[in-house]
Subunit: 213 residues, 2 copies
């Protein structure tokens, strides 16, 4: 049955399901089952069925799941179909690497601008898109107001930059700045690459033979 409140762990697993189903599609596999997925993904079949049933039943008893249908449904749930405008703010190493590396279109976003404050960077082209002066951002937002911004500025200016963008209507941030900002009503997806690396350090340092993950 469809749930109205879906828990964070379930939401975090959705993109993973989506990837595995994409892979099955690439391999022209038409049907799958919770038990098949469970062995492939290292989850329990029960959990998979529970997860899917947070959003309604996509399967057929006795048969399993139609791969493409399930894939597309999860895409819809994730909101990948209605493209949300997104801009990159901060075109340093990380910002420009993300501009080139991430397929925003496949992830539910439409990249409409890249901004920086550094005169050495402004005017450069990244993936055919010119880096614009951040001080002109108000003007640029008139035409294509974005819902979301990638925040790849130094931590020291992260909060003030976020506030400026919120004032212009931005509702969500993909935040790489290493600052933890929380503002009511605004969505922050904080990516802490340093934390991830330290977690790896922990595991390598404290390994006890066995355990994976």
């Amino acid at each position: 049955m469809k749930k109205d409140k879906v828990s964070i762990p379930v939401v975090r697993r959705l993109p993973r399901y989506y990837r595995y189903l994409s892979e099955l599609m690439r391999n022209q596999i038409l049907k799958t089952s919770s038990s098949e997925l469970s062995t492939k993904m290292g989850l329990t079949a029960s959990q998979i069925r529970q997860d899917f049933n947070c959003f309604g039943g996509f399967g057929q008893q006795g048969y399993g799941y139609n791969v493409e249908l399930l894939h597309d449904e999860i895409g819809v749930i994730l909101g990948l179909n209605d493209l949300k405008n997104i801009v990159i703010v901060g075109a340093g190493n990380l910002g420009s690497a993300l501009a080139k590396h991430i397929d925003f279109g496949k992830r539910g976003f439409n990249l409409t601008g890249i901004f920086d404050v550094d005169p050495n960077i402004i005017g450069k082209k990244i993936n055919g898109m010119e880096v614009k002066d951040f001080s002109l951002i108000t003007e640029c937002f008139r035409r294509n107001p974005p819902n979301v911004a990638v925040l790849t500025v130094p931590r020291s200016v992260a909060k003030q930059t976020a506030e400026q963008l919120i004032a212009l209507g931005v509702k969500g941030f993909w935040n790489f700045s290493n600052a933890e900002i929380t503002i009511p009503g605004i969505y922050f997806e904080n990516v802490h690459l340093g934390d991830s690396l330290m977690t790896l350090s922990y595991r390598i340092t404290n390994h006890k033979e066995d355990e994976i993950i």
Copy 2:
């Protein structure tokens, strides 16, 4: 009391504690308490005390925690003090951005090499370090065998590249390749930037007024 098996959620919070304590140190704050940290970090005081006590008691009843001592203890737990050699394999957009952007030294690692297969990239300098030919990797590993590799190669070659590196002694991967690889005894810290972005898409698409995170 010191626990011998520490759960994943606890481990993932350690870098976060470490960051908040670093911040307190920057602000010359000498002592803190679980309740003070809890309001700052959005956790419960109880959880914080539970977390710290997985590793033994670092506080003093009636006083709280000495910021620097706690910070340094967590650093030791994370293994940040004994630097582990790390190489970057794949010097494309993301690999080279990470080389420039990440302070490996502060995260428990010592960057000793950057490799690629592309003749257009080999020989370039990134942060003063020359990109070496991946086919010479066996030779390069003689001197400074690394424990860990950053895997920033395309998904299609990720698995075979990982296997080559494991054969040369690599025990852990910071894996950006978007391939989910599991090999017994080897540590994979998988960073799925696309998943992170899709999670943001989900939340923006399905927002119900209230809820943050």
